[in-house]
C-alpha cells in the first residue's frame, strides 16, 4: 500500500501530518511531504484514518504503484 497525494485537491490543512508524523511532514508552506515507498503494516490503520480524515479527500492509499512517481 502506498500513500499518494492529489496535489491539486490538497489545500494544506495539515491533518495528515498530525495523524501520521511517521510518514508525513509539512513543508515550509504547510503542504505534505509524503515518505515514498510502502506503508509499514503497523501504520496502515493510521494511514487509513489520515485518508478518511482528509478534509478535501486529497490523500489516497493505493495498493499498486499507480502514481507517476513516488512523490517525495
Amino acid at each position: 500500500m502506498r500513500l499518494a497525494v492529489d496535489r491539486i485537491k490538497c489545500d494544506g490543512h495539515g491533518q495528515c501530518a498530525e495523524l501520521l508524523p511517521e510518514l508525513i511532514r509539512l513543508d515550509d508552506w504547510g503542504y505534505p511531504i509524503v515518505a515514498s515507498g510502502e506503508v509499514p503494516n503497523h501504520l496502515v490503520p493510521l494511514a487509513q484514518r489520515a485518508v478518511n480524515g482528509c478534509p478535501v479527500l486529497a490523500l489516497a492509499l493505493r495498493r499498486v504503484e499507480t502514481q507517476r512517481r513516488a512523490t517525495g
Binding site: A17, E18, L19, L20, P21, E22, R25, W29, G30
Partner: protein, 94 residues
C-alpha cells in the same frame, strides 16, 4: 526516527486519547442532561404557579466547549511576491 518525529508521534497519541476522553465525557454529560432537563421540565409544568427560575445552562460539558472559540486563526503569512512577470530571458541581439 528523529526526535522531532518522536515528539509529533507523542502529540498524536495524546490528542487521540483526549479525543476519546472528550467524546465519552460529552456522552455521559448528555445522558445526565436528559435526566436533569427532564426533571427540570417536570417542575416547570405549565399551570404550576411558580415559574421557578431554575435556569441552568451548564447542562453538559459540551455546552461550555462551544463558547470557548479561542481565536487561534492559523497565520498564513502572505509571501512577499516579487514575481514581476516575464524576466529577462537569455538575452542577446534578437
Amino acid at each position: 526516527m528523529d526526535r522531532n518525529t518522536q515528539d509529533r508521534v507523542r502529540a498524536r497519541e495524546a490528542a487521540l486519547r483526549l479525543l476519546n476522553r472528550l467524546t465519552t465525557g460529552v456522552g455521559v454529560g448528555a445522558l445526565a442532561g436528559v435526566g436533569v432537563l427532564g426533571a427540570v421540565s417536570a417542575y416547570t409544568i405549565p399551570g404550576a404557579a411558580t415559574s421557578s427560575q431554575t435556569a441552568s445552562t451548564a447542562t453538559s460539558s459540551s455546552a461550555s466547549s462551544t463558547s470557548s472559540t479561542s481565536g487561534l486563526g492559523s497565520s498564513s503569512t502572505p509571501i512577499n511576491s516579487s514575481s514581476s512577470g516575464s524576466g529577462v530571458v537569455v538575452s542577446g541581439g534578437t
